[in-house]
């Protein structure tokens, strides 16, 4: 039996290949979500840390972003949408709920409504960004700067590491709750979407090895959690690269800003692959 993580890796690599211009392009049965009211079948939850790119990912999948649109801002509350996922002639209805990333009354309510008790999504899209989270507030940016300065140099690697630790702690809560059966009891699949890859396409291998459990040299805490999930549950798991929009990123004021390394066609290819994956996962569930 081929190792599940080998498969995950090769899927990741084929997407990368397509984006770099080698493989099957974006034209293959373009799958996108279309904002449309419908029955709330196929409940899906979008989770992930604050500033990871959840809201923008949703907008990208629904193709709601046009060039020149203003940037996203902190989401004050749950974002709920009924959508239709199309791939070629297939259509699938999905009710997508974006759970706020910050510990808050709004997040509690969102979790309660969509994941606790009898409520459960069939799938979770967990958004991560390899340490490129946006810190919305100036005061919090200063705190991060001060905390890092107290421990050593404040550079982009230190800030990335800061976010990666938070990201792993946040994922641990989700994974533990799923394994213990406290959350999302009817869950069938979970996709880890590695967003903002346009900002670190030149280091994509490092990001891949951080998120996908692999040749057990030095597995990251995140990958170890994913491995736990695979061992303890029968969920279908998947890890894919994604970029929702091309926007420059500054780790902290004072640090150099990073720009996008991809173009619109390339993020189109990423979007298509993710859309297809979601379509497959959703319909798979309906068939068994």
């Amino acid at each position: 039996m081929p190792d599940v993580w080998e498969n995950t890796r090769s899927r990741w690599e084929s997407v990368r290949h397509a984006v770099d211009g080698g493989g099957p392009g974006a034209a293959v049965g373009a799958a996108t979500l279309h904002g449309r009211l419908g029955l709330s079948v196929n409940p899906i939850a979008v989770t992930g840390e604050a500033g990871a790119g959840k809201s923008v990912l949703y907008d990208a999948l629904t193709q709601a972003i046009r060039t020149g649109d203003g940037d996203s801002s902190r989401s004050p509350d749950i974002e709920k949408h009924a959508t239709v996922l199309r791939s070629g002639s297939r259509r699938t209805r999905a009710a997508v709920t974006v759970i706020p990333g910050q510990l808050s009354t709004q997040r509690e309510r969102a979790l309660h409504d969509t994941m606790r008790g009898a409520a459960s999504p069939q799938g979770i899209v967990h958004v991560v960004c390899w340490g490129h989270n946006r810190i919305w507030q100036r005061g919090a940016q200063r705190d991060v700067h001060d905390a890092l300065a107290a421990d050593g140099v404040v550079d982009q690697e230190a800030v990335r590491d800061w976010h990666l630790r938070k990201e792993a702690a946040d994922f641990r809560l989700l994974v533990d709750a799923i394994i213990d059966g406290q959350l999302a009891t009817r869950l069938r699949w979970l996709v880890v979407v590695v967003s903002k890859t346009d900002l670190f396409w030149d280091r994509l291998d490092e990001a891949r090895d951080h998120y996908i459990p692999g040749p057990p040299r030095r597995e990251s805490p995140f990958a170890a959690l994913l491995r736990d999930l695979e061992n303890e549950t029968s969920l279908r798991l998947s890890v894919l690269p994604m970029a929702s929009r091309l926007i420059r990123h500054q780790f902290l004021p004072g640090l150099p800003a990073g720009t996008s390394q991809l173009d619109d066609t390339q993020i189109g290819a990423l979007r298509t692959h993710l859309g297809q994956e979601l379509q497959t996962l959703i319909t798979q569930r309906n068939e068994d």
Binding site: T105, W136, A147
Partner: protein, 146 residues
């Protein structure tokens, strides 16, 4: 606002933020209480002249005394409404906004620092869990307590 330079400072700040939240809740209740008489007096100030005008238009109109009494009540209501608005509600609202802004600002800083502080000070799972729960009682942004 001082630096949060460790677990103890973090917990102190959390307690302070909880106090602010309680203050905000009390202010919300007070704002609701003073809004009621203000709306009632505004209604009187509008309704009395309207009724008097209507009476004048449809029939022989209210007598001189009734007219004088009605109009003075209307004027007094208007004054009461303005006084409540300017002297009670506006300062209350301003104080609410200031407190709320400060609280959200602090809580957002704690949300960002939580994992770091918990790891550095090797907090036990129980403490982490309870801090997480306490942070979860705050709103993400202003406006939701009103």
């Amino acid at each position: 606002m001082g630096a949060i330079d460790g677990g103890a400072a973090f917990l102190r700040m959390l307690t302070a933020a909880e106090r602010r939240l309680a203050v905000l809740r009390a202010l919300t209740a007070r704002r609701r209480r003073v809004r009621r008489p203000r709306i009632a007096s505004a209604a009187l100030a509008v309704l009395i002249p309207a009724v008097l005008a209507l009476a004048a238009a449809t029939g022989d109109g209210p007598g001189g005394v009734l007219l004088a009494v009605g109009l003075s009540i209307a004027v007094l209501s208007l004054a009461a409404c303005a006084a409540l608005l300017l002297l009670v509600e506006r300062p209350l609202n301003r104080r609410f906004a200031v407190e709320e802004h400060a609280m959200i600002e602090e809580v957002n800083r704690m949300r960002e620092l939580f994992t770091h502080v918990a790891e550095r000070d090797r907090w036990e799972e129980r403490l982490k869990g309870s801090v997480r729960e306490r942070l979860s009682r705050f709103p993400v942004e202003g406006g939701s307590l009103r």
